[in-house]
Symmetry: D2
Amino acid sequence: MRIETEDRPDRPQEECGVFGIYGHPQAAPLTYYGLVALQHRGQEAAGIATTDGTKMYSHKALGLLTDVFKHGELEGLVGHAAIGHVRYSTAGANTPQNAQPITMSTHARNIAIGHNGNLVNAKWLRIRLEQEGSLFQTTTDTEVIAHLIAKAGVDDLAEAVATAAQQIQGGFSVVILGNDELVAVRDPLGLRPMVLGHLGQAYVVASESCALDTIGAEFIRDVEPGELIRIDAHGLESSRFATRRARKMCTFEHVYFARPDSDVDGWNVHAVRKHLGKILAQRYPADGDIVIGVPDSSVSAAAGYAEASGLPLETGLIKNRYIARTFIQPSQELRDTGVRLKLNAVRSIVEGKRVVLIDDSIVRGTTSRRIVRLLRSAGALEVHVRISSPPYVSPCHYGIDTATEAQLIASNHSVDEICEVIEADTLSFLTVDDLMAGFGFDKGDAVPFCNACFTRNYPTTLIDQSLREPHHELVHVGGSTNGSV
Amino acid sequence: MRIETEDRPDRPQEECGVFGIYGHPQAAPLTYYGLVALQHRGQEAAGIATTDGTKMYSHKALGLLTDVFKHGELEGLVGHAAIGHVRYSTAGANTPQNAQPITMSTHARNIAIGHNGNLVNAKWLRIRLEQEGSLFQTTTDTEVIAHLIAKAGVDDLAEAVATAAQQIQGGFSVVILGNDELVAVRDPLGLRPMVLGHLGQAYVVASESCALDTIGAEFIRDVEPGELIRIDAHGLESSRFATRRARKMCTFEHVYFARPDSDVDGWNVHAVRKHLGKILAQRYPADGDIVIGVPDSSVSAAAGYAEASGLPLETGLIKNRYIARTFIQPSQELRDTGVRLKLNAVRSIVEGKRVVLIDDSIVRGTTSRRIVRLLRSAGALEVHVRISSPPYVSPCHYGIDTATEAQLIASNHSVDEICEVIEADTLSFLTVDDLMAGFGFDKGDAVPFCNACFTRNYPTTLIDQSLREPHHELVHVGGSTNGSV
Amino acid sequence: MRIETEDRPDRPQEECGVFGIYGHPQAAPLTYYGLVALQHRGQEAAGIATTDGTKMYSHKALGLLTDVFKHGELEGLVGHAAIGHVRYSTAGANTPQNAQPITMSTHARNIAIGHNGNLVNAKWLRIRLEQEGSLFQTTTDTEVIAHLIAKAGVDDLAEAVATAAQQIQGGFSVVILGNDELVAVRDPLGLRPMVLGHLGQAYVVASESCALDTIGAEFIRDVEPGELIRIDAHGLESSRFATRRARKMCTFEHVYFARPDSDVDGWNVHAVRKHLGKILAQRYPADGDIVIGVPDSSVSAAAGYAEASGLPLETGLIKNRYIARTFIQPSQELRDTGVRLKLNAVRSIVEGKRVVLIDDSIVRGTTSRRIVRLLRSAGALEVHVRISSPPYVSPCHYGIDTATEAQLIASNHSVDEICEVIEADTLSFLTVDDLMAGFGFDKGDAVPFCNACFTRNYPTTLIDQSLREPHHELVHVGGSTNGSV
Amino acid sequence: MRIETEDRPDRPQEECGVFGIYGHPQAAPLTYYGLVALQHRGQEAAGIATTDGTKMYSHKALGLLTDVFKHGELEGLVGHAAIGHVRYSTAGANTPQNAQPITMSTHARNIAIGHNGNLVNAKWLRIRLEQEGSLFQTTTDTEVIAHLIAKAGVDDLAEAVATAAQQIQGGFSVVILGNDELVAVRDPLGLRPMVLGHLGQAYVVASESCALDTIGAEFIRDVEPGELIRIDAHGLESSRFATRRARKMCTFEHVYFARPDSDVDGWNVHAVRKHLGKILAQRYPADGDIVIGVPDSSVSAAAGYAEASGLPLETGLIKNRYIARTFIQPSQELRDTGVRLKLNAVRSIVEGKRVVLIDDSIVRGTTSRRIVRLLRSAGALEVHVRISSPPYVSPCHYGIDTATEAQLIASNHSVDEICEVIEADTLSFLTVDDLMAGFGFDKGDAVPFCNACFTRNYPTTLIDQSLREPHHELVHVGGSTNGSV
């Protein structure tokens, strides 16, 4: 029996969340709670490493935080500084070995490292490092960064991290724990988010501001692209490992990934989504009776659409909260006879209505078609689909896992063709300019965003793309079920 | 380290959901999916029993459905008829022994039985049965029903169930599987809900209609109060075990428990809630800038309030979806310093605003106060709380687990006092008449509802209330962690 | 992949061990340690129930004791009295529901009950009880005993147990825990063993004396056949529920089951086995160079044989200690190419030697043939098999699980034929008279033993044999892997 | 509650067993069965890696083989070549990270590596490697060897292994799997054992010959000290990485560790032990009535003693087979009142007798004293202890884990003092000359054995002894219970 979530392959997947804290006697529990707030960024593995100044303690395993830390492991993670990580990963590589933080010892110290993002030159660097005699025990980009730190040839951790950060390219928000210091870096383009806060005297870094709120910490500011932050007993010190250049922050964090209560690089996520919904209503009106958002990610945009259009916002689709990763999928036969688990349409709301359906994106089109059919079978007269982002035409190389380009329906179909495939009455997407308007930019403005997934205009070269796949491969068997190595 | 959900003691808890199907080759998987749709009615144990006409197969354990059926157990549940059960239970009795369906053999047959509801004369009946030599291996009401069926002295299962049903009093929706038949009964007052549907030739019964939708079955009608349904190879047969009398359906199913996409006894749950929100806006207006519903149960009412008041509906509170039962709670020290896991307020929405906060009920008041404080700390200028039901003053005895009367804040505080306790600026509840208006009834109408939790006017005598607690008690140790017996 | 021990179907299996203690503040841990000493009597499920005088606490699950009590369950089993049980059971019925002690409440009290043995009229009694309206939730004989106790119609537990004991027939050693008393009974023929001891002021009963040794208790005496012992705050009281008659103690306890360090009914097990080995050497000499016993059960007999014959005793067969129940069996293909896990022959000992191989019994013959082949492939010139018991011709009905009569090689083959089947050079068994000589009896003496498995001469009628199998059957699915219900 | 085996700290512990096979379609299952035969060499972790010529597959975790491979992992380990490992390790380092085989990718290939033994210059090499920028993710010697292979600067795996083997010092038997080849090396002194065999066309290497027997493979010869064996599609090739010098094979393999059915470097282990027992009887006779060996390791020596002395060999001590690592230890209070789990003395054998007790070694003396007391409490009149090896005075640095020198009773007590401590009537050890006589050597012969634990005469320098402990340490938390990383 195959076990997976119903529409798993049809959503982009964030690849991780990171958290770090220095200077608090309860560093490990606070990291745990911070990671809980970031769990939406990765549900397949989790881990925490701490230090008491001499020894480094760690625990990580496959599963949600509640699974990974259920046998009292938190109590063993002593110390006043900690980093933590939640991980999403593709099925093949979902092994405990790839869980993070990765811990290791170098001649100068222990280090633990956690990484959100994806490097575009990891393969290239790995080949070079392997030729120099480095051994790789995982298949993560993160281990590449670790080797670069170890080989930096300097004793100072922050300096070594800076040296490593100058060699890697792509999207990265990295937290590193040393013997008695915490270092954090964000990639020069700001592709992946990272914020800085404080909880009393303790400093905190995290992928999103909701993690600060959850532990009662106060937001200080976003970590700057190209910035390196070092926190130790002497306080916080900021430096740059890269010169300042135009930012290229990921718009998809706002469209889909980030939690609505987070502020990312100065914009509140819910507010942006609601604004996008309003723009959608203004520019792509639909002759509907009610507005329905696909739960949960499109609820904000739907509220904006309803407000701007004057149409009533209805809860016409109900999401089952209990469909977890380990859910037993219905057989094709049962699917054909109508078993539908994740979403249900409310007949008494939908019946006889012309529905305006708001969603944040269309990846393969299969989920959209299923929802349209669901609404029609519940009696919807018409279904007008409005998407609060532009057509998703090209894969992300900076830390988001989508289908391949061939699988992205918008990469090889017109909007009309997609409309037909998903069986909608009408379909509209935002343009990139519309999307930028959601952040307050006018057409023609230089924008601080990476929109490569909508434009194919990548802000970095894609070095690894030209490299062949490695000729040998390590496969860890059986790890996915019981968390063993 | 104590493991529980943050506000667990401060919400009423439904005590179960039931499901049954007869006449489908995939009876067990369909029951599994039907139960998934009912998982909100009970998250502490689950089980399924099937029959192939001669043998009866069963599996049950503590945990969510995804935990209970993760090792291929479904494949062993062969047969064309099945019943299933999801269970909520109070901590002390949360043992595998009390999981359902209970299976047993009598001289005539195997039977499996699953029950939603609570009997008011279970203790009384148990004493009588024990005196007659019956052995009890669980502490459930359900086992009382089973003994009554076994002792009915008739070979026909439906007749035996009718005999048993005539002896029990209280709220009950029960499904019983025999060697090759499925019997379902609903209590004479209709306190607990039950619907009937079909999937092709197969008949289905379930606690809520969303379970029918989920498996693609069509709704036929609600099971009548006092009705007994028998389904076997000859089709469906309906009879009555009790004379028709005034219905007393549970309003709290609509206010809080049932899924918004369910139709319960002719009313759609979302529609009722939205209607209640509108009434709330009309009769208890507030001088606010925005409307926020407490997720998830008050979202419909908040939408109604916003629509009727003209105020914008905002997603100002975000719920963490990953807080499960096994979550490690923060220490009091960390709580005091601000760790808050389940809900977060969105500062950019709330700041500087006068918030109208919609919630469905107030039990002890502690949760409400926490939310009010959360909103204020995120910058809300004022918080006006509007509750979409009347003050909850008295415990339910028909299948809903709340605090004791002493713990119910409304049982011994005025609305003004509660307002002060929860630190709101203003507070309003609906009256019982308002609540009934939500279903379309005018003041003075005879209503088919039990409102005892709001009125202390119980529709049955409470027989067991006068009995002492049993002098001996069985405690199963260790069951809660690993599902073993 | 099939998981089972290599030669599982080819050994008789004891069906249980019981233990009880009254009057010690550490009743549960002492029961745990006592059961560990009895683990050889049953490795498939284990459980303990305790009482503190008012509440009864219990925990049981599938698995070895170390598996069942690994999460701190022992700590929850408070009280000064306890009973415990280890269980072997046939595969089909190996479900948590059938684990013991069974706990239940009756009108007078809680009771917990654990049983070693097998009743010959359990089916018959069950039919009667079911007709009277009793419900059965397990398929064990033990539940039959429990119902008889509950229906005895007397308030005094010991009296009720006596009433029940008078109705059941077969082999039984039963421990029963009441609210504040411990009752133990042994069947009138003494088919199953039970001993009485004390640890300071506390009284202890157990299936074998090794359990007394393990907890540091002192042996008082064997419990008498037909005796009922009641232990409570007033001390120990003995009575008889059956008149004294000729004992029929199980010889196979001495030949194979019991631990060599136990004294059973006055004979030390190791001493009896060694004596049988000497008799074997005297009456059935073999022209061999060395003596090898099949580990572990035949080591004592082999030592006796060597001593009496003057041949050197050698450790020519080594048993792998790490082959557990969950072991992955080799495929037939691998078996054919020579994979042999449980036993290895030591070439340097065996090569060029004429081996006298001592074993305790031959059930199907497959294991014996495998061992003979193993020795030959290690270079043995000849293999002379000597069995320290008579041919096993007929199944036990009193608590030992063997193959069916058709599968018992000795039931339908002569000794010569068996010798040929197992590929031995010569083969001898003891006669029943030889066996009795091992206990010091002469030919013609009236012996206090049941030898029915060797003689087909059963000491009771076999009532259930004439009953059809029940027409309906309960199957618990999935219990064997995770211990859930 | 503390969980550990009763006498765990009082026995030397072998640190591992290795196995490798090349050229068989069922490489993984055969490795599994081979490792089962080696399970006595390490019970704390196990793992297997395989290759199909391009991909490498692996699985490892904490626990016995039956625990590690219970969820079908074996089926995922495809390929025609495999290595496997069973591991013992000290408590602190018992983490999944330290389980083996370690798998990694280098620029040329994947490699998997498994190691039995201990290096005397591992710390020294690690410091050098860390200074050169190597990262260490485990605390094992094995990872040091892996780095040396990766840094050898040659493409040929066998050459790279030879280069690495020339740099490491101490005891090591190592198996290495490459993309399509298997390499095995044994240390130049032959401190740790390793044998070579074949199964049809497939070659097999293993720590002990019993692993060959178990899978039906034929023994070819011991791997030579200083030999490197490479097996690939072209067959087997042998070379030397070190010049031939005097062998120093570990005598303790024969005295205690190896399985009695193994032949180690030309001697059968059982035969050596029996011979040592005879020498003990001849040179250190005792005025006893019966001979008892401490099970299981001293049974062979006891048989030799009995044969040579003419005294009867009795099974006077019975070992409980069900005391596993996860066993709940009795509290000190219960120990004081007499709870004794692992061994029981058989009163009917021991009572009134003068016992000659044969054991293989005395480490701290606590176990010996417990056994002597056990025998006396069962009625032994006298207990004469005879040890089949010399006093154990100095820790092993080549792969055996004992107490520190200060804890070794013989390092600072005379034989008379030890006799008093263990409360024996008399006590004798073998001398080193006696021990060598067990292998057929006369006094003054140059012997090919390492007896350093008896003589303090180490055959290598102990380089790491002069190094300080590392100033930083990695602690993996929680791994020991659930096998997660």
